[in-house]
C-alpha cells in the first residue's frame, strides 16, 4: 500500500477510537435498562437539547452535503450555495411541525418508530407494511450511496484503497450502531456534529487565506467566469423553477423523512425541543454555508479539478496542513456515518418492531424468553442490514449523489402526507394514507426513472401533488376514522 498519508491517518484513527469508546459506554446502559426496545431504538426518550440538535443536523447532513454538494458548488459557483441555504429552516420546521404532538402521542402509545405512529393513527396493517417496505427499500439505497461516498473520501485522502477504506469505515458504523443502539447513534452524532463544525471552519479559513482574502478570491472567480458569482450559475443552469422546486425537496419535504421524524419523539422535555430548534438551526446554517462556500471558493484556489466527488478531498489536501486535513476528513466522515447509523437503527427497528412484533409474534414482548429473543433479533437485524449494504457498496454504481436524492424523494413520497395529515387532519383515514403512499411512490419511481425533470422542476413536486390528491379524495370517499383514534390524537 504505497502512498498512505500517515499524518492524515492518525487523527482519523483517534477519532474512530473515540467512537468505539462511546459505543461501549452505551452498551453498558443498554444492559442495565429494564425496557430493551425503548432503550435500543429510541434511547429511552432521554435526549437533551444539545444532543437533539446535533443528532438532527448530523443525521440530515449526509454524503451529499459534504462531497456531492460542494463538488457541484465548485462548478456552479455561489448560485449553488444559494440552493444549499434552502435547508436552513429544516431544524425548526421538523421540530415545530411534528413537535410536541408527535412526542405526546408517541408516549401515549409507547411508539419507538414512525410506523408505530402510523399504525395507531390509521389502524391499518396495509399502511404499516407499505411503510415498512418503502422504508427498507429506500434506506438500503440511501445507505449504499453513503457508504460509497464515505469510502471514496477515505480513499482520496488517506491513500488507502477503496475496498480497505470501505471496510474500515463501514465496519465502524455497523459495529457501534449494533452494539450501542439509538443512544450510541445520538451521542456519536453529537460528537460528529462538533467535528463537522471544526472541519468546516478550518477548511474555509484555509481557502480564504490561501486565496489572499475574500475580495481577491471573488475577483479570481469573476475572472474565471462572471456567472460564478451570480445566483443563476454558468449558462443559467440554476433556473428559477429548478431552484424553487428544491424548497419542497430539501426544506418542506424533510418533515416526512422517517429518520429525522423519529428524533422528534425521542427528546426529554419541551425545553430540550426549544433549545434544539435554535441550536440546530444555527449549526445547520453554519455547516451548510461553510461547506458549500468552500466548494465554490475552492475553484479560485485550486482550479481545474474535473471529477465532482473528488473535489473536497483534493481541496483539503492542497489547502490544509496534513494533520489538520485529517481532522477535516473526520468531519465529512462524521456526516456520512451519522446518516447511515440512524437509518440502520431505524431499518432494524422496522424489521423487529414493525413487522415481527406487530404481526408475526405479538406475544413475544410478554414473556421473559420472548424479550430475550427480541433482543437478539434486534442486534442481528442491525448487523445483517449493515452487512448487506456493505456488500452492495463493494461494487459501487456510478453517480452516488443521484441515488441519494432518489432515496430522499422516495421516502418523502411515502411518508410526508401520512405523517403530517395524520397529525393535523381529523378526517384522514387508513385508506387515504395507503392510496397516497402507493400512488406517490409509483409516480415518483416512474417519473424519476423516465424523465429528469417535470416542467423544469424536480419530480418530487408532481409526486407530492398526486399523493395529496389521492389522500384527500380517498379519505373523503371512505368512512371517517374511529372515535378512539380521534381521542388518541386530539383529546385529553
Amino acid at each position: 500500500m504505497e502512498g498512505v498519508n500517515v499524518s492524515v491517518v492518525i487523527p482519523v484513527a483517534l477519532y474512530l477510537i473515540g467512537i468505539y469508546a462511546m459505543a461501549v459506554y452505551c452498551n453498558r446502559r443498554l444492559s442495565s435498562s429494564d425496557n430493551f426496545m425503548e432503550e435500543y431504538f429510541i434511547g429511552s426518550r432521554g435526549m437533551g437539547g444539545f444532543v437533539l440538535a446535533m443528532t438532527l443536523v448530523a443525521t440530515y447532513t449526509s454524503a451529499s452535503s459534504f462531497i456531492g454538494g460542494p463538488g457541484v458548488a465548485y462548478k456552479m459557483g455561489l448560485g449553488w450555495v444559494l440552493l444549499a441555504m434552502i435547508q436552513v429552516p429544516t431544524a425548526w420546521l421538523t421540530l415545530g411541525v411534528l413537535g410536541k404532538k408527535f412526542a405526546i402521542v408517541a408516549r401515549r402509545i409507547g411508539a419507538v418508530t414512525v410506523n408505530d405512529l402510523l399504525r395507531a393513527r390509521y389502524e391499518s396493517p396495509a399502511v404499516v407494511i407499505a411503510g415498512s417496505v418503502s422504508l427498507l427499500a429506500f434506506f438500503v439505497a440511501a445507505m449504499t450511496a453513503q457508504f460509497i461516498g464515505g469510502a471514496r473520501l477515505f480513499q482520496g485522502m488517506t491513500g488507502l484503497s477503496y475496498n480497505t477504506g470501505l471496510a474500515i469505515f463501514a465496519v465502524t458504523v455497523v459495529v457501534y450502531t449494533t452494539v450501542g443502539g439509538f443512544r450510541a447513534v445520538a451521542l456519536t452524532d453529537a460528537l460528529q456534529g462538533v467535528v463537522m463544525i471544526v472541519g468546516t471552519t478550518a477548511l474555509l479559513f484555509g481557502i480564504v487565506s490561501m486565496g489572499g482574502g475574500m475580495e481577491k478570491v471573488i475577483a479570481t472567480l469573476r475572472n474565471i467566469d462572471p456567472d460564478l458569482i451570480t445566483p443563476h450559475g454558468p449558462d443559467g443552469f440554476i433556473s428559477k423553477p429548478f431552484i424553487l422546486s428544491f424548497w419542497v425537496l430539501v426544506c418542506l419535504g424533510v418533515v416526512g423523512l422517517p429518520h429525522t421524524a423519529v428524533r422528534c419523539m425521542g427528546y426529554r422535555d419541551s425545553r430540550s425541543m426549544h433549545g434544539a430548534m435554535v441550536i440546530g438551526t444555527f449549526v445547520l446554517a453554519f455547516v451548510m454555508l461553510g461547506m458549500h462556500l468552500c466548494g465554490a471558493l475552492g475553484r479560485a484556489v485550486v482550479p481545474g479539478i474535473d471529477v465532482g466527488d473528488t473535489i473536497m478531498p483534493i481541496l483539503s489536501l492542497r489547502v490544509l496542513p496534513p494533520v489538520v486535513a485529517g481532522i477535516f476528513l473526520a468531519g465529512p466522515l462524521a456526516g456520512v456515518m451519522s446518516t447511515i447509523d440512524s437509518q440502520l437503527i431505524l431499518a432494524s427497528a422496522t424489521i423487529v418492531k414493525d413487522i415481527y412484533v406487530n404481526y408475526v409474534s405479538p406475544e413475544s414482548v410478554r414473556s421473559e424468553r420472548g424479550i430475550k429473543k427480541v433482543r437478539i433479533m434486534s442486534l442481528a437485524a442491525t448487523a445483517m442490514i449493515g452487512t448487506v449494504v456493505l456488500l452492495a457498496a463493494f461494487r459501487p454504481p456510478e453517480l452516488i449523489v443521484w441515488i441519494n436524492i432518489f432515496a430522499f424523494g422516495g421516502m418523502q413520497a411515502a411518508f410526508l402526507w401520512p405523517l403530517v395529515l395524520g397529525l393535523y387532519w381529523k378526517r384522514a383515514n387508513g385508506k387515504g394514507a395507503l392510496a397516497s403512499m402507493v400512488t406517490g411512490v409509483i409516480t415518483y419511481i416512474s417519473m424519476a426513472s423516465t424523465m429528469k425533470s417535470f416542467m423544469g422542476m424536480n419530480v418530487i413536486i408532481p409526486t407530492l401533488l398526486v399523493g395529496l390528491v389521492a389522500f384527500v379524495l380517498v379519505s373523503l370517499l371512505s368512512k371517517r376514522p374511529n372515535d378512539s383514534v380521534i381521542d388518541l390524537f386530539w383529546m385529553e
Binding site: R107, V278, M491, E492
Partner: protein
C-alpha cells in the same frame, strides 16, 4: 366523539406552534428570494460588495440565515409554551 371529552390543550399549543414554524419558513423564503433575485438579473457589473462578497449573496446567504437563527430563538422564547409531554395532560411528566 364521546361526550364530556375535551380537546387536549397541549395539542392546541402544538397546532399553534406548527403554524408559527411554517410562518417563519415563509418569512425566510421571502428574505432568501428577495435578496437573491433583486437586481441580480443584469449581471455582476452592478453588484455592491460587503465583506468581499457580492451583496445579494451576503444578504441572502450569510446575513439571512444568522438573522433567522436569532428570530427562531425569539419565536421559541416568546411564542412557544413549555408543556408536559406525559400521556395525560394532568400528569406531572413522570407518567
Amino acid at each position: 366523539m364521546f361526550p364530556g371529552k375535551h380537546e387536549d390543550r397541549r395539542f392546541k399549543t402544538a397546532h399553534f406552534e406548527a403554524i408559527c414554524s411554517l410562518a417563519l419558513t415563509a418569512l425566510y423564503f421571502l428574505w432568501w428570494y428577495g435578496f437573491a433575485y433583486h437586481g441580480t438579473d443584469s449581471g455582476p457589473e452592478g453588484y455592491h460588495y460587503f465583506m468581499g462578497l457580492p451583496g445579494w449573496f451576503f444578504f441572502s446567504c450569510v446575513l439571512g440565515p444568522f438573522l433567522f437563527c436569532f428570530i427562531a430563538w425569539a419565536m421559541v422564547n416568546l411564542l412557544f409554551k413549555e408543556v408536559s409531554l406525559a400521556p395525560k395532560e394532568e400528569d406531572d411528566g413522570r407518567g
